[in-house]
Amino acid sequence: MTAILKVDTIQDTSGNNIINESSDTITIGAAGDTTNIIGTLQNNGSAISIASLSTASGSAPSYSARAWVNFNGTGTPAIRASGNVSSITDVSTGRYKVNFATNMPDVDYAVTVASQQANNNDSQVHNIEAPNVAYVEFQRRENGTVYDSSYIFVTVTR
């Protein structure tokens, strides 16, 4: 048997609103509260598209990174931190692949690569190979010569 509770406000024992419905708008929590959702928050069964992040201003939509990594490409190359990255491949001097833990939906993503100067050359180029859903490969050069770098940052947005 299904029971229906008809109210427009649920409060905690101190009288603060936990859930409130007014003019077709449902408000969960109150200013200063932390609303902790256990499980997946969905929009009628689909992933939620967040129009803007709390740190954003204005009405332009926000897009988050699908993969990112910070790694050291010198000495014994090593990953400092990453997200949605299963590995990096040290292909050769100054040439690396970033392999995604979960593939991109297509190859129309945008890649940003930045790195620390390795040989005191102001002219740095990061040459991106044709994108692949499983990885992005690039080579870094300074004044036309390939160099490894101690700090390499890669972000993939889609």
Binding site: S87, T89, N99, A101
Partner: protein, 71 residues
């Protein structure tokens, strides 16, 4: 992760995979990230030289790539 995965590039030089802490085992990463059909070897990171002066001259015998094939 203190393991590295080695496979051979088309030009005979070697590529070295550095696994991320992503919840996959080194074997799963090797199967996934070594190009399809290429043989690989899993080694301890201590077996890889940190002197990269002649990095592009590093190579390995095919007979050493005995731990699997990229899927």
């Amino acid at each position: 992760m203190d393991k590295r995965i080695i496979y051979k590039n088309a030009d005979g030089t070697i590529a070295i995979i550095i696994p991320a802490d992503c919840g996959l085992t080194v074997e799963q990463i090797a199967q996934k990230d070594v190009p399809t059909g290429l043989k690989y070897k899993i080694v301890n990171v201590s077996e890889i030289s940190s002197d990269r002066t002649f990095r592009d001259a590093w190579t390995i015998d095919d007979e050493e790539l005995t731990d699997g094939v990229g899927q």
